[in-house]
């Protein structure tokens, strides 16, 4: 006697279940894409906020009646001095005229056009993370030392950026939630459809005196494994796609200019494992509940 025959599975392998597995795999793929997009949006938004909230910019604006380069240089040096002596500011870097021209070059171009423009002098300061700086007092001190100075802590820009980032993140989460619900419904539907086809087996086992828990166990692990495998295939494909996007970016090919990188970090890729785990748990719970319900309806 072949030992394998002694432990034949009470729940049969599904001859016609391949299409359902394909549907689960596709839904898992879409869910993994949505999850990956959410993680990218979250990371990008955090990066924008952190990047800007740790910076201060002081502009020395040329007066309307015009001013000599020396006066602007003096005011720039004075303002830089104030910034350097302010607690919580870790670095101060006055931008040279060349640096400033390089900043506006993408919009205006180079050459004679820039030379005629009254470009402000810029000082870039970096704040110690978590440091609390009284911006009102600092602004007054700067005005005293450099009357044409203007302190910009990016509050307005950060506020708008934060709003945009929040909208992107919540949109991504909403799409993720929709796909998660659709995936859960698909897995549950596939599981129930599979069980419907085996109602006669459930009824026979019940008739032979099997407890509801025994019958449920005979089926639930089968559906757990099937959903786990199918959803893993979908999630792995999504992971490969994100990794390919990362590879292109490493090779210097930006998928979408100005947008954050579309690749996922290793730790973020690990989150994709939640998709097959979730699908398997849903299949397990659906199978168990369906069998227990079916058995309870039999006399």
């Amino acid at each position: 006697m072949n030992a394998r025959t002694l432990r034949g599975r009470i729940a049969p392998r599904e001859a016609g279940a391949a299409p359902l597995d394909v549907v689960i795999a596709i839904m898992a793929f879409l869910a993994a894409l949505a999850l990956g997009a959410s993680l990218i949006a979250d990371r990008a938004a955090l990066g924008w906020r952190e990047g800007l909230s740790s910076r201060l910019t002081v502009q020395i604006i040329p007066p309307e009646h015009g001013a000599s380069a020396k006066l602007l240089d003096d005011e720039t040096m004075a303002a830089a001095g104030i910034l350097k002596n302010t607690d919580g500011i870790v670095s101060v870097r006055p931008l040279s005229e060349k640096d400033t021209e390089a900043l506006v070059e993408p919009w205006i171009g180079s050459g004679a056009a820039i030379a005629d423009l009254p470009l402000p002098r810029l000082i870039d300061a970096t704040i110690l993370p978590g440091a609390k700086i009284d911006l009102g007092t600092l602004s007054q001190r700067l005005k005293l030392a450099a009357p044409d100075s203007l302190l910009d802590d990016h509050t307005r820009w950060i506020g708008r950026l934060k709003g945009l980032a929040d909208r992107i993140i919540w949109s991504a989460y909403f799409v993720l939630a929709l796909i998660a619900v659709a995936t859960a419904a698909t897995v549950a539907f596939a599981t129930r459809a599979g069980l419907e086809a085996h109602h006669d087996i459930v009824a026979l086992l019940h008739q032979m005196g099997a407890h509801a828990g025994f019958i449920a166990r005979a089926f639930e692990w089968h559906y757990f494994i099937s959903a786990l495998l199918a959803a893993t295939v979908g999630a792995v494909f999504a992971g490969i796609l994100f990794s390919m996007a990362g590879g292109l970016e490493l090779a210097g090919i930006e998928a979408v200019p100005f947008l954050p990188p579309l690749s996922l970090h290793v730790a973020e890729l690990a989150w994709l494992a939640a998709i097959p785990a979730g699908a398997a748990l849903i299949a397990w719970a659906t199978a168990r509940l369906s069998v227990l319900t079916a058995v309870s309806r039999i006399y």
Binding site: T5, P12, M208, G209
Partner: protein, 223 residues
């Protein structure tokens, strides 16, 4: 062992298929249930193997009143009953061996404990060379013998068989009757629903006849 008192049964709003059925099966008895097709034999068996509840009347099984018993008690009652279904109800994806071993698996026994018993039993019913065959590859008679082996393998307290020799030749029918007789001598109460007059005459056992849903006692054992 089994007591029916004024049992009636109807499906939905249809007519009564069993009317005021009253009888007792003593422990260790051997009984045939006969009657024309549609007389209600299968329905009576269903009530006895706890597949359907009666519409009215009392059924007492192994000393347990089914009307007042808790549902949680039913699985243990069902495990004391071996059933040969008219349509066999074998699991097509399992081998003949695994189909026969199913009641033992449900009882929590380990394969190494029952492997020899199942092999021997399948040999006894003439399927020693088809242990690994799956039901779809077996003939109707072979499937019936697998179903019988499954019903008796756990030495149930009560064996209920619905037309167990309907698809086998006379020689195999005799062999199966000896199997039922042997089981009965070991203490199992046996109830066989059949049209097979030859089988009934050979066994010389008690016969109950159902006519139009009513039970008639035709012959007591060894009469």
């Amino acid at each position: 062992m089994v007591r029916f008192e004024n049992v009636g049964m109807r499906y939905g709003a249809g007519p009564e298929v069993l009317r005021d059925v009253t009888f007792v099966l003593e422990a260790g008895s051997f009984t045939f249930l006969t009657g024309p097709s549609g007389a209600g034999k299968t329905t009576l068996l269903k009530l006895m193997y706890l597949s359907e509840p009666p519409t009215r009347g009392l059924i007492n099984l192994f000393g347990c009143d089914l009307a007042t018993a808790k549902r949680a008690e039913f699985p243990s009652l069902r495990r004391r009953i071996g059933v040969v279904f008219q349509d066999f109800r074998l699991l097509d994806h399992l081998t003949a061996f695994d189909n026969v071993a199913l009641p033992l698996r449900l009882a929590g026994r380990r394969p190494e404990e029952y492997e020899k018993d199942v092999d021997e039993l399948l040999g006894w019913v003439g399927l020693g060379d088809k242990l690994l065959a799956r039901p779809p590859t077996l003939s109707g008679g072979e499937q019936q013998r697998v179903a019988i082996a499954r019903a008796v393998v756990g030495r149930p307290d009560l064996l209920i068989a619905d037309e167990p020799t309907g698809n086998v030749d006379a020689e195999i029918g005799q062999r199966l009757l000896r199997l039922f007789g042997e089981l009965n001598r070991l203490g199992t109460t046996v109830l066989i629903a059949t049209h097979d007059r030859a089988l009934i005459e050979r066994a010389r056992a008690r016969e109950m006849r159902l006519i139009d849903g009513r039970l008639v006692e035709l012959r007591t054992a060894r009469a």
